[in-house]
């Protein structure tokens, strides 16, 4: 559903994942042997040729850590992203809508798993990744800390949130790290269904009763600004937030466009869609700019953005609590499967033993 890499300026997680990592990087840098130097020269050559880095290639430690952080945050977002819509599965207004919603939420789980697999190729375990999510050491997209108050929110999420995610994820299909790029190709193929079902949901509401139309407009009002904020802090021009990862990530071929460029593309794409739907986007400053050839739009409430990232959104605590309790309540399933596998192995070994015995 979403992949970006940004961190609040005072977030310790923005640097190396812990102090020891930082020390290790410096120590390693101070003692590069010839082999490592050769390896990193080959890394630079591969990046310069716009080819893909694969898991066992030599790579700078910071490249590895940047990717782990970004892919993990992306994976966590998919997994937490199951909750806002999962909240409506039992109340979907028809069997058709229920089946669609279940399939969509299952896809989000799938996207999370593709991404966890990609992150694991960088040398981190699944348990460590889940632990970092559960303990708040790694973030997920702040968009999922907003509540889904009405059925129309499921439409607005598909249309706006998944629409923004596609804008962000398509360039990641050309990311320099092979496993991440391949995971994004699979994800993007499935994401298009998510966006279309959301648009269709709102399209039906807008052709319904005045109450249904009002519900679609209300959901649009509430999701528009958080969707724009999803692209991350401003990273171009005079208002660029300093200390971001954009420049380095672009040099490494992880990121292909700035946050601001992607946000502008999203606005330009969405304005005509809103007009066709018949909803009003809640921004009085939204206006076509002939000179730029783009839509101008108002200022995002960045204070709110950072507040929600830091934990003060409507649903931060509930999302993590739900995630942790689901994980704990599922422990017996994992234990049972492991016990069953062990028993089957024992029986197979026993049968082999018996066979040898009778032959002798």
């Amino acid at each position: 559903m979403y992949g970006n890499d940004f961190a609040e300026p005072d977030d310790p997680g923005a640097g190396p994942l812990n102090a020891a990592d930082g020390g290790a990087v410096e120590a390693a840098a101070a003692h590069v042997d010839t082999k490592a130097r050769e390896g990193l020269a080959s890394f630079d050559a591969i990046i310069a040729a716009d080819q893909r880095i694969e898991p066992r290639d030599a790579m700078p430690e910071e490249y590895r850590q940047t990717l782990i952080r970004q892919i993990a945050q992306h994976a966590h977002s998919e997994i937490i992203g199951m909750q806002p819509e999962g909240n409506w599965i039992t109340r979907a207004p028809s069997l058709r809508r229920k089946a669609i919603l279940i399939a969509k939420v299952q896809d989000e789980a799938g996207h999370g798993l593709y991404l966890y697999s990609a992150a694991e190729t960088l040398g981190i375990t699944r348990e460590e990744l889940l632990d970092r999510l559960h303990t708040g050491k790694q973030k997920y997209s702040s968009i999922f800390n907003y509540p889904t108050l009405t059925w129309a929110d499921c439409g607005a999420i598909g249309w706006l949130v998944d629409g923004a995610a596609i804008m962000n994820q398509v360039p990641l299909c050309r990311c320099s790290y092979g496993p991440y790029a391949r995971a994004m190709i699979r994800t993007c193929k499935e994401e298009s269904f998510h966006q279309r079902q959301g648009f269709e949901l709102l399209w039906e509401l807008m052709r319904g009763t005045p109450e249904q139309q009002a519900m679609a407009q209300d959901a649009t009002n509430r999701w528009w600004w958080p969707a724009l904020a999803m692209f991350g802090p401003r990273d171009t021009g005079e208002h660029a937030v300093t200390g971001g990862h954009t420049e380095q990530s672009m040099a490494w071929g992880i990121k292909r466009f700035s946050n601001d460029d992607l946000r502008q593309k999203f606005v330009d794409m969405t304005v005509p869609q809103a007009a066709r739907l018949g909803v009003t986007l809640p921004d009085p400053d939204l206006l076509w700019n002939e000179e730029r050839g783009h839509y101008d739009f108002g200022e995002i409430d960045w204070d709110e953005f950072w507040r929600v990232i830091k934990g003060d959104g409507a649903c931060n605590a509930a999302r993590i609590e739900r995630r942790v309790s689901s994980h704990e309540q599922g422990a017996w399933v994992r234990e049972a499967a492991t016990a069953y596998a062990a028993k089957q192995r024992e029986r197979a070994d026993g049968a082999v033993g018996a066979g040898e015995g009778s032959a002798a």
Partner: protein, 95 residues
Amino acid sequence: MSEGTLPLFEVFVRAKRGLSHVHVGSVHASDAAMAVRNARDLYTRRQEGVSIWVVAASDIVASSPDEKDSFFDPAGDKIYRHPTFYEVPEDVEYL
């Protein structure tokens, strides 16, 4: 017993009859049979495959990226293995 013990399997999918199995990603599972089921749910939700292989990741033996140059060097100077190496008269057909 912790989840840390769930092994990793690499997943290969045959998209349709006549094609080879191709690596698509990986899954964690308690055993190979569960890995096949997990792989079905994860990698073939939209009829992307007609057959799945899973292989314990720890069983895969791979060439080392450290020696990629020397390992593949022997093929580098044998251009006579390619048909375009040979000069033949232009007016000879089906050659």
